[in-house]
């Protein structure tokens, strides 16, 4: 089954996934969504890693899900068809017990298109179930141009990765294996060197 797979080493921190996510969860489904009320917000959160590199943080849809076990009103549930953990906006009481339980820090609390008007609820990634039911792939994956977010069978992603590692080990000198970027490595090295200095 295809799922969103995150390849954090590829993330360049452009935050396009955040824009796309917010738009996908808006009324208009266009950039005009910034004028909507409530203003749609992203469910994927690009934070900074230790060297200020991008890190796309999204719900892992854990099984069992700690947030689901912690939810006081029983508002968090799982739909097995898409292996997705969802929050029922009507049941949610905005108690933040899920945020206390989530080891990845993916929950946010705000008004939402799907919630009763004026009600603040817990919001997180829904795997774009609405888009998927229309045969579309999740919005964050669709806009990611560096392959940091892919929609594929995790097993085959694993196989591909193993292949890439093997290739990079056996690659003939001078040839550049796919998925490796001298540019990104150079930038990362420079930023890391800069960070090291403030860590003294």
């Amino acid at each position: 089954m295809e799922k969103v797979v995150v390849h954090p080493e590829r993330c360049v921190g452009c935050m396009q996934c955040m824009v796309a996510c917010a738009v996908a969860h808006s009324q208009s489904k266009t950039l005009a969504a910034v004028y909507e009320s409530p203003r749609p917000r992203s469910r994927v959160h690009v934070g900074a890693g230790p060297a200020s590199e991008g890190f796309p943080n999204r719900c892992r849809h854990c099984d069992p899900a700690p947030c689901m076990a912690a939810c006081l009103p029983g508002a968090i549930y799982r739909i097995s068809a898409m292996e997705t953990v969802l929050i029922d906006p009507d049941r949610c009481i905005n108690c933040a017990s899920c945020a206390m339980a989530c080891p990845f820090g993916v929950l946010r609390f705000h008004e939402d298109l799907n919630a009763p008007p004026g009600k603040v609820i817990a919001v997180k990634c829904d795997n774009c179930v609405e888009r998927q039911s229309r045969g579309e792939i999740p919005a964050c994956v669709e806009v990611c141009k560096v392959g940091a977010l892919t929609f594929e069978d995790p097993e085959s992603a694993m196989k591909r990765k193993t292949g890439e590692v093997a290739k990079s080990v056996w690659a003939a000198a001078g040839s550049q294996p796919i998925g490796v970027s001298a540019s990104a490595d150079l930038l990362r090295a420079a930023k890391r060197a800069q960070m090291e200095l403030t860590r003294r």
């Binding site: 200020s52 560096v146 998925g179 490796v180 540019s183 990104a184 930038l187 200095l197």
Partner: protein, 632 residues
């Protein structure tokens, strides 16, 4: 609070900075460091120079990992996009300096017409010298007439009617040959910027190499054109700097005085403030308000201009501009343009500080706009200082915090002053270099950048270079970093290597010489040209280098580029947005050596950078047949 000091120590090495950052946190003031944090992660496409917003078929970006898009809608690849972006940055930097120069030429023209209020020619000697370089017959003419003709001639340099900007003639013959060969002789100040913008329009220059060559020509038009005019005309109007003792850091603010800070770049406004602060009736008014006097200080380069010519103390550099306001001790901050963070208006608003913008080209949120023109400038300045004095009664003593004692420092080392100190010629300096007592010279220039531990890059590198017997000259924000670190007093010779120490002690000078503001980087060009001419070699043969350890500004890109195009290799602390094209990276770091005899290098760590630079200098010494050391 526990852990607090450690956190501020990871932001700035300066004591005043650390202490006032703590106050800023208590006062709930947001600083550039806070905003940088909020911006993390910054966009990797943009950091690598791989995004393009030049046209509306875009915006486009290139996947550095090779799987996603490799070309923009127009078909531009990573090399073209990176080169275009870099060149547009250079053009912006050149435009900034050169437009600053233009404002000075306009004052010079107004002085000639007798319409410039309180402005006058402070250095007729330099007026005549520079006019002669422009081929103006100065014999028997009044200062006003010469000023008029010079202003005209300089304005010509801005246009398109020349084959080469006039002051490029100061460059050694060999260097001008290199430019000719590469086709990068700068023809007109505005012309090169204009052409750069033209070439980076979609569908014009799509050869990354020729784009970069135009970038170099654009930078040269600034270095040997706009910036050089800015410095020379400033000297003519306000005097040639001479060595002067002054003070630096937030300790220059006085608890019992009316404190006024000037911020920005152009001395045209700040010079009038200097005059107004000396008006006896305003000083008397200050006393009536309970202050002991009026205390003027500067931040950023307009401060540097005043320090160079009047010994006006400097309160801080770029990253200290917000913190200076957080002292709560500033009655007015008067800004002109460039490097003025739009954050400071609202910060001033959190205290009693009057925030005043003065230039028709630079307006800011939370500031009162009072437009200065040459005709009214002195009256405007008088009124403004008066308002600042009256604002003293609004100061809340409870919120005032001046964290440290001021640090002594020396400034005012114009090329004329340096040659004067050497007895009229560069010969003694050349002898010291030949004898190996001074291994070489490095111009450390540029900015602060919250990505870099504040002042650590600047003064850290300086400290290490002087210890290796390398003479350092500094400008811009680096000038303040080094002054605060105590590296610009004669006693700092003790921190220098034995050879440099001996020379400094003999001449009674510090091992680090303040050359002025960021347009004053051209003083370095003039000095290295003089050295090369004296040795009969090209600039690129000299044991010299440039460095911008904490650069942030587009102007710094331009300076770095005109240094390299002039034959001075340049070290950068932070990485410019070029990593997206390995072709561009290789050209800048290696390829340019063959073409221009100089390259760029990037090294954030001052320790490693010092090694890199010192090794470069020793290699140049070796090539000149001088004694050299193995640096490894």
């Amino acid at each position: 609070m526990i852990g607090t000091s450690k956190r501020f120590e990871s932001q700035t090495i300066t004591k005043d900075g650390q202490l006032v950052l703590a106050k800023a946190e208590r006062d709930q003031i947001e600083t550039a460091w806070d905003r940088l944090k909020a911006q993390q992660p910054q966009c990797g496409y943009c950091e690598m120079g791989l995004s393009c917003t030049n046209c509306n078929m875009g915006p486009c970006r290139i996947d550095p990992f090779g799987e996603g898009p490799q070309k923009g809608v127009c078909g531009a690849d990573a090399d073209i996009i990176v080169a275009r972006n870099l060149c547009r940055g250079i053009a912006a930097g050149a435009a900034s300096h050169s437009d600053h120069g233009r404002d000075l030429v306009e004052v010079l023209a107004k002085v000639a017409e007798g319409k410039a209020g309180g402005y006058s020619i402070k250095s007729p000697e330099k007026l005549r010298r520079v006019a002669a370089e422009y081929g103006i017959d100065v014999n028997g003419k009044s200062d006003a007439v010469i000023a008029g003709e010079l202003a005209d001639a300089m304005q010509e340099d801005y246009g398109t009617r020349k084959s080469c900007v006039t002051l490029a003639s100061r460059a050694p013959e060999k260097r001008r040959e290199v430019w000719k060969k590469l086709g990068i002789t700068p023809r007109g100040i505005d012309r090169e910027t204009s052409e750069m913008m033209h070439r980076t329009h979609m569908g014009v220059d799509n050869n990354w190499l020729s784009l970069l060559l135009q970038g170099m020509r654009n930078a040269l038009a600034d270095g040997w054109g706009g910036s050089m005019i800015a410095t020379e005309v400033s000297d003519i109007l306000f005097g040639i700097p001479q060595p002067v003792k002054t003070w630096v850091n937030l300790g220059v603010l006085k608890e019992d005085h009316v404190n006024i800070i000037v911020h920005g770049h152009n001395p045209v406004v700040s010079e009038t403030i200097v005059a107004a602060c000396q008006a006896p009736d305003l000083i008397k008014l200050a006393e009536e308000k309970g202050a002991k006097g009026i205390n003027l200080s500067g931040v950023c380069c307009t401060g540097g201009e005043l320090t160079m010519r009047h010994g006006i103390p400097m309160a801080g550099n770029h990253l200290m501009t917000e913190l200076a306001l957080v002292t709560g001790a500033v009655e007015a901050m008067i800004v002109d343009y460039q490097c003025i963070m739009p954050s400071i208006g609202p910060i001033g608003g959190c205290y009693h500080t009057k925030m005043i913008s003065t230039s028709d080209k630079a307006k800011f949120p939370g500031m009162e706009h009072r437009e200065f023109h040459p005709e009214n400038a002195h009256q405007m300045a008088y009124d403004l200082v008066k308002d600042a004095v009256e604002n003293f009664s609004n100061r809340d003593p409870e919120r005032v915090y001046i964290p440290v004692e001021k640090q002594e420092t020396y400034s005012g080392f114009s090329v004329e002053a340096v040659l004067g100190a050497l007895g009229g010629s560069a010969e003694p300096l050349i002898d010291a270099i030949k004898a190996g007592k001074i291994r070489g010279a490095v111009g450390i220039v540029g900015c602060n950048n919250p990505k870099v531990l504040h002042d650590h890059g600047n003064s850290g590198l300086t400290r290490r270079l002087i210890a290796k017997d390398i003479l350092v000259v500094d400008t811009g924000c680096v000038g303040v970093s080094n002054a605060k670190a105590g590296l610009k007093v004669p006693e700092a010779a003790e921190l220098a290597g034995p050879g440099l120490k001996e020379i400094c002690q003999a001449l009674g000078i510090p091992p680090v010489l303040h050359f002025g503001s960021c347009v004053d980087n051209v003083r370095i060009l003039v000095l290295v040209s003089a050295l090369a001419n004296a040795l009969g070699c090209d600039i690129s043969d000299l044991p010299v280098a440039g460095s911008a350890p904490e650069w942030y500004s587009e102007k710094a890109l331009t300076i770095g580029t005109y240094f390299v195009a002039s034959g001075v290799s340049v070290h950068l602390g932070p990485m410019p947005a070029v990593a997206g094209s390995m072709n561009v990276v290789k050209l800048l770091t290696e390829g340019l050596n063959d073409a221009a005899g100089a390259t760029f290098s990037v090294e954030p760590d001052p320790e490693k950078a010092a090694k890199l630079i010192s090794s470069h200098i020793e290699n140049k010494r070796k090539a000149l047949g001088l004694d050299y050391r193995d640096i490894s």
